[in-house]
């Protein structure tokens, strides 16, 4: 798999330029919420392919099972009941998981060299052997996706089955989906399918239907078709963006400031030692009882 190392677009906390001349097909997953029946086959297929068996959790009063993403649950169906004007009560089912941003907040926030990489096909992948378990990726993610694993102190999330895609297969969730709510292919094709679906939905009275490919993170490699349009109904950010704290903390300014502080402490210590000299144990005032 050494060739794969030539196809990295970005790598966390690294200054070295990645060899990046090959143009690989940019891939994407399309989640058509209007076709999803919430059967959770994608969840089962994800667990099976990735050899993940999460603990049996607790009932959260809804169909959500498990009730949240964990280090061993990389995708989860979320069920929302929403009263929508002139549509009545609607049951919204959202497949939650990593969106594989073109401009990934997790990667930008990550301080461990090479713990998060972005391949040239658009997949954002965690390399757990480089992960230091700091959890900054969770802070950096605009969609609250990565999860810290208590068992091994590493962060995990959906890989878009990078191991399957690397050998030319589609991800496990997409293959299994019985209602064709999930599709996989070239990013442009997914956008085209989504737009064609919008025309269809609008004819059926879903005039607010929209495609969710948030420009705040330069687009994602997981694209949603939202029949009711407003991302907030599906608990997705309307204006997805990376927290400004991430760019501050990863900026040249903060790094220079940190190095300057470190150096000045050493210099100050040196001058203090030159001027005052080492601590003289005899000059120390005696403690009580001495």
């Amino acid at each position: 798999m050494a060739l794969e190392s030539l196809d990295i677009r970005r790598r966390s906390a690294s200054q070295t330029r990645a060899p990046d001349v090959r143009e690989r097909l940019e891939v994407a997953k399309l989640i058509d919420i209007s076709r999803c029946i919430g059967c959770k086959a994608c969840q089962a297929a994800c667990m099976e392919w990735n050899d993940l068996r999460d603990d049996v959790g607790q009932l959260g009063g809804s169909y959500d099972n498990p009730i949240d993403l964990t280090d061993r649950t990389w995708t989860v169906m979320r069920f929302y009941e929403e009263e929508i004007a002139d549509k009545g009560l609607q049951w919204l089912i959202v497949k939650d998981g990593c969106l594989h941003c073109a401009d990934p907040g997790c990667l930008k926030a990550c301080p461990a060299p090479g713990a998060i990489v972005q391949y040239s096909n658009g997949i954002v992948d965690f390399q757990q052997d480089n992960c230091i378990g700091c959890g900054y990726c969770q802070t950096g993610c605009p969609f609250n996706i990565p999860r810290y694993g208590v068992r091994d102190g590493k962060a995990y999330k959906c890989t878009l089955c990078s191991d399957r895609v690397a050998v030319g297969l589609e991800p496990a969730c997409i293959k299994t989906c019985p209602t064709q709510a999930l599709s996989f292919g070239a990013k442009q094709d997914m956008i085209d399918i989504a737009n064609a679906r919008l025309v269809d939905l609008k004819e059926r009275g879903f005039d607010k239907a929209a495609v969710y490919d948030p420009p705040g993170v330069s687009g994602t490699h997981v694209v949603y078709v939202m029949p009711h349009g407003d991302p907030a109904l599906y608990r997705m950010p309307r204006e997805a963006s990376i927290s400004p704290l991430v760019s501050l903390w990863r900026s040249g300014f903060a790094r220079t400031l940190g190095v300057l502080t470190m150096v000045s402490v050493v210099v100050a210590g040196f001058f203090h030692w030159m001027k005052v000299g080492p601590v003289d144990p005899d000059a120390r005032p005696p403690r009580e009882g001495e």
Partner: protein, 195 residues
């Protein structure tokens, strides 16, 4: 090389300083990344039909090893068969989690018998089980068989026992099931489509 104590300490300190800078991220790093190894690379692929419902989805089962004599096949992965006309690669959540169904420690692998009034299951042989079923069927048929109805018309009905067949049967076994039980006069024949 001769070093005074002072020179040795200086050298050690500057060495520690320089290497610490490297550890703090000032050293260039190799830009490498790797995906997880493809886990099906040389596994044995077997076609089959999902055992659950009447839809009868095609599945691909992946076993450890290449069928050589000393390799013991163990299922490591199951996914939908893209060439199967019914499901074209897709599977429902039950089909998608078949692996744990097949490898389950609770999977029933032999016939078991629970005597009337007992709460214990006991392991029996197929011979014993089939003999007992045949005996009970014969006794019941001898007792309840209706050769003629009230008007004296021959009907040859056996209405006191029904046959529940399975949805995953092939055409051939479905045909045989039908012929055998109709020949006995059985009228209640049904299929459990959601086993």
């Amino acid at each position: 090389m001769n070093l005074s104590r002072r020179q040795f300490l200086k050298l050690t300190t500057s060495g520690i300083g320089a290497t610490s800078l490297g550890a703090l991220g000032f050293a260039p790093d190799r830009v490498l990344a790797d995906v997880r190894n493809f886990k099906l690379a040389s596994t044995t692929q077997t076609r089959n039909t999902c055992p659950y419902c009447s839809v009868g989805c095609g599945i691909l089962m992946y076993g450890l090893g290449d069928r050589s004599k000393n390799a013991r096949l163990r299922l490591v992965h199951i996914e939908g068969d893209p060439d199967h006309p019914v499901n074209r690669g897709t599977l429902c959540p039950k089909g998608a989690s078949l692996l744990d169904f097949v490898n389950s420690p609770h999977r029933l692998k032999f016939p078991e018998y629970r005597a009337p009034g007992s709460s214990e299951w006991q392991r029996v042989t197929w011979e014993w089980a089939l003999d007992r079923i045949a005996r009970l069927m014969k006794d019941d048929r001898d007792k309840n068989f209706i050769a003629k109805n009230a008007a004296g018309v021959p009907v040859n009905r056996w209405t006191s026992v029904g046959m529940l067949a399975a949805s995953a049967s092939s055409n051939e076994s479905g045909y045989l099931t039908h012929k055998v039980f109709r020949a006995m006069g059985m009228t209640a024949l049904d299929n459990q489509a959601r086993v």
